[in-house]
């Protein structure tokens, strides 16, 4: 068994890969907490959070969308049998700003760190 294990490792390693893709920079989770619904202004949003990834025009407001995505991919190629797994998770903040420039809602979630490498088995 002691002899077979290194051989197996040597055999399998060349067929392994793992990659991580990061889309945009993340930001301090406390930043969005500085925004106060009903008080903070559009200028506050831009000053605190920086430029958004996207601004979505809504009926009577705008949604400022901040997003940081992490994709972790891993795989194993064994000649005719291949295994691949990818997991994409996000840090995201959405700020609703009304036509008068006042913040009307803030939603935030930080899950980018939970993206995992793995193989397509189990949970």
């Amino acid at each position: 068994m002691n002899r077979i294990a290194p051989l197996l490792v040597l055999l399998l390693l060349p067929g392994c890969f793992a990659s991580r893709t990061i889309d945009d920079e993340t930001w301090d989770p406390g930043l969005a907490g500085q925004l106060v619904v009903g008080q903070s202004t559009r200028e506050d949003v831009l000053k605190i959070m920086g430029p958004p990834k996207e601004v979505v025009e809504l009926l009577d407001s705008d949604a400022y969308v901040y997003e940081h995505a992490v994709t972790k991919e891993s795989g194993l190629f064994l000649l005719v049998v291949n295994f691949a797994n990818d997991d994409i998770q996000y840090d995201r903040v959405t700020v609703i700003v009304d036509r008068e420039g006042i913040v009307r809602g803030v939603g935030e979630r930080f899950k980018a760190d939970t993206a995992e490498y793995g193989l397509p088995f189990g949970d």
């Binding site: 920086g50 996207e54 025009e57 000649l79 295994f83 691949a84 797994n85 990818d86 995201r92 939603g107």
Partner: protein
């Protein structure tokens, strides 16, 4: 016997580039907001409440008379069998897929919330279906799922605007086509951001830590 083993090993070695079984798993997003969205009450919950309770939506857009938000979690497992033909003797390696068998299942879960102009929740829709997938587009038969895919295409700017909307734009309106599906984002960005921050690549966001 040794000859057979050698032949088997060689067959495996050569078949590797031509025949392949692939198991793939893909995970996108988290399911918690989709579950929590069931607790929201049409006529009472506001957009601000929803953002506070569920976090930011995965997709936000405007339809002709509603603001629409999606919270989405998408898991998929695939099994693929592929047979390819390699062309020898060409300058660059080339192959052609002769046969691909795909099977597996997807679990698409999302909550769709529609808000009126005052930001009050008016309509909800939930999709939580583990979808057995026997064909490439088997799941698109569901109308709500179909709507979601179209909304997503519009948000990404892939789907063209309908022709009747062009006349609206000429009139100075910036509304959707009235089919209940919206457009998103890009139209809004130019009007509300000062030049100094309009370009994402030009300005930097504060870094973590």
């Amino acid at each position: 016997m040794a000859c057979l083993r050698t032949l088997f090993a060689l067959a495996l070695l050569f078949a590797g580039g031509c025949v392949g079984f692939t198991f793939e798993r893909s995970k996108d997003g988290v399911p918690e907001p989709v579950e929590d969205a069931k607790a929201l009450v049409p006529g009472e919950t506001t957009l601000a409440d929803a953002l506070a309770a569920l976090g930011p939506p995965d997709l936000v857009l405007r339809t002709w008379n509603r603001d629409r938000c999606y919270w989405v979690c998408w898991d998929s497992d695939y099994f693929k069998f592929r047979v390819a033909l390699w062309y020898p003797g060409v300058e660059q390696a080339a192959s052609r897929d002769l046969f691909i068998l795909t099977d597996g299942d997807e679990s698409l879960r999302f909550a769709r919330l529609d808000f009126d102009e005052e930001g009050v929740l008016r309509e909800t829709a939930h999709v939580e279906t583990p979808l057995d997938r026997s064909g490439e587009y088997g799941m698109i038969e569901d109308a709500i799922v179909s709507n979601y895919l179209e909304d997503r295409e519009r948000a990404l700017g892939v789907r063209q605007q309908p022709s009747d909307e062009k006349s609206d734009e000429k009139k100075g309106k910036n509304r959707d086509d009235g089919d209940g599906r919206g457009e998103s984002g890009k139209n809004g960005s130019a009007s509300v951001l000062p030049d100094s921050v309009r370009s994402r690549s030009g300005a930097r966001r504060p870094r973590r830590g």
